[in-house]
Amino acid sequence: MINASLRELSQALAAKKISSVELSTLFLDRIERLNPTLNAFVTVDREKSLKMAVAADARIAAGTAGPLTGVPIAQKDIFCADGWRTTCGSKMLANFISPYDATVIRKMHAEAGLVSLGKTNMDEFAMGSSNETSFFGPVRNPWDTERVPGGSSGGSAAAVAARLAPAATGTDTGGSIRQPAALCNLTGLKPTYGVVSRYGMIAFASSLDQGGPMAASAEDCALLLNTMVGFDERDSTSLERPVEDYTRDLEKPLNGLRIGLPKEFFGEGCDADVMAAVRAAIAEYEKLGATCVEVSLPNSHLSVPAYYVIAPAEASSNLSRFDGVRYGYRAPDYGNLDDMYMKSRAQGFGAEVKRRILIGAYVLSHGYYDAYYLQAQRIRRLIANDFVEAFKQCDVIMGPTSPSTAFKLGEKAADPVQMYLSDIYTIAVNLAGLPGMSIPCGFVGGLPVGLQLIGNYFAEGQLLNVAHRYQQATDWHQRRAAIE
């Protein structure tokens, strides 16, 4: 049961081979046993989870269950969940009990009947690529506990990779679903911007943030994505479009699929062994009937610089809400109001979050706005236009997700720039607002390698199809970390 797919779990629950309470208990016990090693969860509440499982079992018995009713999952601690502590990996929110549900949580709980096993660790306010910026300490990679799981959705990735949960939610602002998926041998999908509601998802960079599924396979991601999407009037950037069934096209043959290979993704800067695994995956796609064409994303080298202006600018604005007045941390000792703000924010935020707030405040300040913020937004358009041109020649773009396999804890923590460059292949996708995936495609020295798939706007169904067919032909995604 621990390694079962979401479809298998759904079938077992429907056939009453196992109850949701039994299934949830199985995973909760596993969390209790393995979480002290991995630190993947920051909050587990057995009583709350089992209450949801009891309700799910009642729905199954009454015949009102949906496809995933009773299936337990893990929630990234960036999603507000009513009555649950919601920390966003920060001291600022270490004692914050959310008084409301994020739309994604509401849909998963009230509509789909999923059972939340707990809240997963993450980089503070989703700012990081290694899960080392969390106030609650780093998460360890189940494939090698001396290494990072990636970030910022590192807790979700480690939880699913160690089978502490069958699947999890993540969020992706610059690669935070895809990079940890790659480093932990998972399948992760960042949808088109606007497809998944951001209401109740604690904001980092509002024009880039997008929630999505992290699971063991493309099929699991499709099933989970079905429960997450949909127009939400509470999110002003939510898109009004017809609801899709993302499992619909999973089995479609790949004959005639045109794969675009950006020459910028296949040059220097990527570990040679990682690149070999990526190339082998592309060769497998050719066997499945796809053809390859070289494309170019000439401005992709500017994506990291532009991102580190735009994302901090938006973050500095979003995080101004944490002032110690309405919610969150307030310093114990202070003088006047200004002093209360200054001390609460100095003590409540960690070093990386402060750095990004300062970058943001600077690039938005008088005299620098045009040179940095507007220039970054102009480059953002150039990057988005590059994709428009590339998709004239291909259906899907492929390349590495991350330039290396999981690095050691502490290896990049002292140098922000080195850390930022680990998202070199993922960030352009967020700037353009496109959907992207990472799927397992091999191992280097026992560590997983991810293949990145980038689709055109709203091509989630096609990406899942392309990922699923590969997973029918290969077994990389079925390999499990040996952690017990």
Binding site: T237, L302, P305, L358, I359, P416, Y420
Partner: protein, 95 residues
């Protein structure tokens, strides 16, 4: 371009983050490393390129000017550091 220590302290103040001299010095080093990366943008001629604020070119929706939320003041104030009779308490601002 590189930020002076004074500039670092000034933006820390603008962002309302108390920063000691020692912290400001470390931060200065980090920020200058990051801005070195960011400077790559300056070599690009973007004249005539419309800034892109957003991934989707859609305009903000409008809704009816009607009350849609229920009163949850008590629940929302329950998470505040300090409240009294429905008000958020902060240090005295006006003498």
């Amino acid at each position: 371009m590189s930020l002076t220590l004074e500039q670092v302290k000034r933006i820390a103040h603008l962002a309302r983050i108390e920063t000691s001299d020692a912290e400001a010095l470390t931060t200065q080093g980090h920020l200058n490393g990051i801005f070195q990366l960011i400077e790559q943008m300056q070599a690009v001629d973007t004249s005539g390129v419309e800034p892109m604020a957003h991934a989707q070119d859609v305009s903000q929706r409008l809704r009816e000017d009607a009350v849609t939320e229920s009163d949850r003041r008590a629940a929302y104030q329950a998470v505040a550091p300090e409240v009294e009779v429905g008000l958020y308490l902060v240090p005295k601002v006006i003498e």
